[in-house]
Symmetry: C2
């Protein structure tokens, strides 16, 4: 069924399993990064990123840069805010902490609004904070990979436009883009940063950032130079514009093979963007119902706070991840341990994104649920629970 | 002969042609970046980087980070020098200019010692500059991809140790590592930054940086915090140390497929490091003799300034790259146009690195020389020269 070597099924919240065609694109023969063939593919890939974000506003600008998702934080922090300006971080876990550190590295004054574990910051609290101080930007983690909490991006963006219209709305979409709906123009967002290896279904190695005209304007009207060189919007903007206009351009060598793989997966995804979100929701509902049947509570307690590309589940009292993960592995399934430092030993994470969800013939999700049931029973028995 | 789809032979100064096994590593199935299998491969790859640099000093530290070669400039500029400190750039072309801009982004005071096009800065000039001011670091481009000029890394390092022993010696080895000898410990270097896609023979997408204990010490004893987040040595150091000690660790998701490909190519290269430099020298001599026979002068006039992995050649008076490159392409061979802005239309660049050099069965270099001869004759005839 698959052209890939036999292997355990990777069902962590990224990297995820790959479609065969995507993986084959990774072994594309050597090409010049400024030759017509590659320039066309890179340009088309940028246009596909717009489609992925349901964006048609020509002032919006996608960036595809060699790097991890983390690099997107630098792109935001070194360009969209200046030393001494205020940033408000809606913090739903590990990744809010780290984004805050990145912002501080470039001199921002960071205020964290920490949500309780497994929940979002209430909109009223966000509103109160926005009224108290002038914020250059607000960040939120769309899906916190450490907890599976889904933020209300649309609601927060509406609130910001009402209360503090000039504040830039920045979304960390590393664990959401491709599995959660994002209507970039309609929701009036300013930056969504993501990475290739989660719901986008491409191997890791690409930082993907979508920016609004307002964000580009902020970068271009800085009073001080950008805080970074490699992560400088001023350095990359002409490159991205040229490639999308089918003109070769050079700032740093793009990872040609990864760009081919991204082109392949985005062509698949953008054939039906709403359909993709629908199937992720459907499969997520099924996973969450099955987990409940096994008596497993989710970290994200309220259903509107639950991501659709992953499920973080508390283990039964008395079990730690190391009791359960080996039993899953024995059955060919890889889940991830907890990551949120306060409760890391109490829960496990199941990533259900990309081909494992969209290609039911693989049977990945059903196999994983069956394996989870068996591995849990085995672990409980071993512990006499 | 090759498992790759038929394609024109890429003989630019990077990216270069790939070995089949390297390219196959790019389509490795999905893996967790913290699972034992990948941790072992990443750890071994770091150790192979040490071997590539002929380094056995345990205080030296390799870094492998998702990004383009350019990111290495940020790693140096944001960690090894502080705002207001002095940097001396030995400038042999395009890449010296850009490295200088990167250093300035992070607040360094940069002095450029510009060599004439096609030559190096004389050691006496470097010595005079070092005696005039206290420099935190000196940078030199080992091989300037824009001109094919080879710098005297060993000589400069010896000079620095004699005249200004605390100055960090930083080498931009993007276009040299894998084709030019570098004895990291013996030459007492502090940082060599490179990328995966040139003589290392891996697809683009990895920034590779080798640092000395002295450099790490400089990063750790800064009076101010590092200037970047993604390019912070403090953030990456424990990750690299853990992986090499076979312990999973997380700061940003590594590009797992590219790391596999790097592991494959470095395993091949490090089987005989001196042999690799010898064959590159031998083939380079052959290319340069053939070019001379065709009446083509090199940008790097003096033989000790000529790189061994590429040849930049002036075209005959009256011809521009666009007269010759299509004739080469017609014969299945891709060279690069000029890049140094003052003379870009006057020359072409031939990259001879990696499998095109080490695997004579491919016939890449002989075919390219034959194609060059024919394409030149054709172009001259068309122009009535």
């Amino acid at each position: 069924m698959s052209a890939q070597a036999p292997h355990n099924t990777l069902l962590i919240p990224g990297p995820i399993e790959f479609d065969d065609a995507v993986l084959q694109s990774m072994s594309h023969y050597a090409e010049s990064h400024v030759a017509p063939g590659f320039v066309k593919v890179f340009g088309e890939t940028l246009t596909l990123v717009r489609k992925l974000f349901q964006s048609t506003n020509p002032t919006a600008q996608p960036f595809i840069i060699s790097g991890s998702g983390t690099l997107g934080w630098d792109l935001v922090s070194a360009n969209l805010i200046e030393r001494g300006e205020n940033a408000l971080v809606l913090n739903t876990g590990y990744f809010g902490d780290s984004f805050g550190q990145c912002l501080e590295t470039y001199g921002a004054n960071v205020t964290h609004l920490k949500a309780p574990i497994g929940d979002r910051t209430p909109l009223e609290e966000v509103e109160a904070a926005l009224k108290e101080k002038s914020y250059k930007l607000i960040t939120l983690t769309h899906v916190d990979t450490s907890t599976g909490v889904l933020s209300d991006v649309k609601g927060v963006a509406q609130l910001v436009r009402r209360v503090s219209p000039d504040t830039l709305v920045v979304v960390d979409g590393v664990c959401s883009v491709g599995s959660e709906e994002i209507a970039f123009d309609e929701w009036d967002l300013d930056a969504v940063l993501t990475a290739s290896q989660k719901a986008i279904g491409c191997p890791p190695g690409l930082s993907i950032v979508m920016t609004s005209g307002r964000a580009i304007q902020a970068a271009q009207s800085r009073k001080t130079p950008p805080g970074a060189y490699y992560a400088s919007i001023a350095n990359w903007l002409p490159i991205m514009q040229n490639y999308e206009n089918n003109k070769p351009s050079y700032f740093a060598t793009p990872p040609t093979q990864l760009v081919h793989a991204l082109h392949t997966t985005l062509t698949q995804i953008t054939a039906d963007v709403p359909g993709r979100f629908a199937i992720h929701t459907e499969v997520s509902d099924k996973v969450k119902a099955a987990a409940a049947e096994l008596g497993l509570k989710q970290l994200a307690a309220r259903s509107e706070c639950q991501a659709h590309g992953m499920t973080a589940m508390y283990l039964p009292e008395g079990l730690v991840p190391a009791d359960v993960l080996p039993g899953l592995l024995k059955r060919g399934v890889i889940f991830a341990a907890g990551l949120h430092k306060e409760i890391a030993t109490k829960y496990i994470r199941f990533g259900h994104m990309g081909v494992s969800v969209t290609d039911p013939k693989r049977g990945d999700v059903d196999n994983a649920l069956a394996a989870l049931k068996e591995a849990l029973a085995e672990a409980k028995q071993a512990k006499g629970l």
